[in-house]
Symmetry: C2
């Protein structure tokens, strides 16, 4: 959680703000997602816990500052700047939508208000933290919806973008409704249920498949899942039935999973193992799962790896961190961008969630029309200190479940639906227009 | 670098191997990529440095073991297993192709031989480490090739899959030929050149664009890059020319970059700033870059972020870790999988690189036909200790450059080329066939 884990320009800008005596200016930035990725009807906000831990622990180490001091880009930086960096802690405020909230483009996931330099330095880490977990949660929820109630376990650590991404992907997947993860460290760190079966290497490590099954059963008892496809799926299943109880069931990891699951089900049933379950894996995604469910395949649970832990069909969000206000000498300046492709709205905001639509408004608005709506953005950090403990991961998971259930049903389908209605309050529209006019006037 | 950062089933299998008294069996696993992703003609191996650091430091902490002990999956594990885990260190051997080597499907990136339990536990971390950096290096090289010699800087930390992925993406991109990265921590940790300009927020934080430019120029001198598109690209460029030298040049981050770069070039030239450079960014990828280069746009350097740091068009490799040998009571058993979709070849291997093709052979072969070929896999760790220091990142980068230059030119194009010729030695083909026959016999 190094403070140096940021884009260099955040640090050169910090030096520039310092040189220009802008240490007392207070900036407000918001994190939004510009557009929904393909194949997404909504996003599930995630990553706040890690963002908060980062902000509360922000600190440069001496060797990091020595590194910066030696870079050519800092040759003309004021010498006092490095001492300033050494003492720098996050003293600002953060508000955010709780993890597990369904959100839409242009709705701020989080709003940060802090001395300009602090606000600038934290941009890179905050963006990657919020965007990655939100990305994975928003993919995971599709996998969960596709199974129509059957459990999904996140299995993607080995294909995630490095070892840490695997841990965070497990967290985001659980938050979004997966039953658990295969990642043991994610289990320990976040209290997530962990699951696993056995690998083909396990079967191959024993002189016979039967011996490998027997040892597994002795070890795992009721949680035993026999991986039956190392040599031949149906023969492997027969072998599992010969060993009989205790077992949870069998795993299929190759071939035509619909056809095989039917044959395997029959073998299990014929052996009197009606309660034995069938778990499937093999480069699954929400579409493959939905097909199997639609085909009525007797599959009880799904393990989804690569495509979930990388959000394979849409591996990045267009998340941005944009300045919306700047307080200089007590005066608030509203800021925004107006280019067609990169439009932003000025001012610190609140999102009001009504039963069937949202309104993005200025946080300073006091509008009777917002009565009955839920204000989604809540204070999280104030003056560098946490306001109250964040909800537990299980509460965030419940919030996600409730948020998903409350969405119009077309948005819960795997197909692309009509966009959810998100209005912008008249006050905010007016403010944006007046800023735009001022900018145009200033450039005449 | 927690040893617990692995799939739970590695640990339950470890307990099972322990219970089955298999602690003295020695397994050989190889890491290969099954298929090239779409739009890739070759891969650039990367991630070995981090894999080695992981293996040399592998160790369970006491609280991690306490966590495992309390899991239901370990209820029947032998009590001595936990003490065994506490003392576990990596005592095996690793051979690998040096970072920066061009590799192809089914060629082992690395081969690990170790006591079965150690070999199993490290699978998840090793796969994600090798696969992620190889993924990013293999994307980055395409971006580098597309510019035909103009520098590319990796700018993707904010969109990488979490804060650590950003650091590793910077490393892999540099290894593959990028000039550097925007990530300051990647710069410090790996000695990579770091670059940056300024954000739109910088311009907006000053009462006027001119003042923002002036402060930047005072700070950065010759490295100043004016971001000219905050309000109007051509007016911003005019402003930059009024400030004049010192500057490196300007950055364009929106609009039609080909058309704008021509107009901007003219404005700079007309102002006598022929040496001022044009840097462009804005959700670039190798195709957009190639188009700009083909159009003759006067662009001097490219910053590529999201699409590079996530390998956006192919965000995962089909990397697998497969057992190829198992030594039990002094006897070597060769292992392989034969299903059509997941075929593997048995035995520890060597890759022989000839001028125009590779041969995958058994490492135990001594074949006069391999004279003159380069054996790509080299010993890295022996009995848990590093054999010799790994080549520096800069040497790996030079190796990548040489490897790419040596490829047949169609493979260096952005289009999909005929696959590179990779043969399998007759000995290895024979061994695979005999294993297959044995397996079929055994199952009759």
């Amino acid at each position: 959680m190094s403070a140096l884990n940021t884009d260099l320009y955040q640090l050169t800008m910090a030096a520039g703000y310092f040189a220009a005596a802008k240490t007392n200016e207070i900036a407000t930035f918001e994190i939004t997602v510009r557009r929904l990725p393909d194949n997404r009807n909504f996003l599930i906000a995630a990553g706040l816990q890690q963002a908060v831990e980062y902000l509360l622990n922000l600190k440069f180490q001496k060797d990091e500052i020595d590194y910066l001091r030696a870079l050519p880009q800092f040759a003309k930086a004021p010498p006092e700047f490095f001492n300033f960096l050494l003492k720098l802690r996050f003293k600002g405020e953060l508000s955010a939508v709780p993890e597990g909230t369904a959100i839409f483009p242009n709705e701020p996931l989080a709003i940060l208000r802090a001395p300009l330099i602090e606000a600038q330095i934290v941009e890179t880490y905050l963006l990657s933290t919020f965007a990655f977990q939100t990305l994975i949660a928003s993919k995971a929820v599709r996998c969960v919806l596709a199974t129509q109630g059957r459990p999904v376990v996140e299995f993607g650590s080995r294909r995630a973008h490095g070892p840490d991404a695997g841990i965070l992907a497990g967290r985001a997947a659980y938050l979004a409704g997966c039953l658990g993860t295969s990642n043991a460290e994610a289990g320990r760190r976040f209290g997530i249920p962990v699951f696993g079966t056995a690998a083909h290497a396990w079967t191959m490590a024993f002189p016979s498949e039967e011996e490998s099954f027997r040892v597994l059963q002795q070890l795992l008892g009721n949680s035993t899942v026999f991986l039956v496809d190392t040599y031949d799926t149906l023969e492997g299943t027969q072998l599992a039935t010969q060993l009989g109880r205790p077992m949870w069931g069998v795993r299929l990891d190759s071939g035509d999973l619909v056809a095989l699951s039917r044959k395997v089900r029959r073998i299990l049933d014929d052996a009197g193992l009606k309660d034995a379950k069938i778990f499937v894996t093999n480069d699954l995604n929400e579409y493959k799962v939905a097909e199997m469910v639609a085909a009525g395949a007797p599959i009880d649970a799904f393990g989804i790896g690569t495509q979930l832990a990388t959000s394979f069909d849409a591996p990045a969000l267009s998340a941005v961190y944009k300045m919306v206000e700047l307080r200089r000498n007590g005066e608030v300046h509203y800021t925004a961008k107006f280019s067609d492709e990169k439009k932003t709205l000025p001012g610190a905001k609140q999102i009001y969630r009504f039963k069937d639509h949202d309104v993005i408004a200025l946080s300073s608005e006091c509008n009777i029309d917002f009565a009955g709506a839920e204000p989604l953005l809540r204070p999280v950090i104030n003056a560098g200190e946490i306001v109250e403990p964040l909800p537990s991961l299980d509460r965030a998971r419940s919030r996600a479940a409730a948020a998903i259930a409350a969405l119009p049903s077309p948005l819960r389908s795997l197909d692309t639906a009509e966009p959810y209605r998100v209005d912008v309050s008249p006050h905010l529209v007016d403010l944006a227009q007046s800023i735009r006019n001022d900018l145009q006037l200033a450039r005449l």
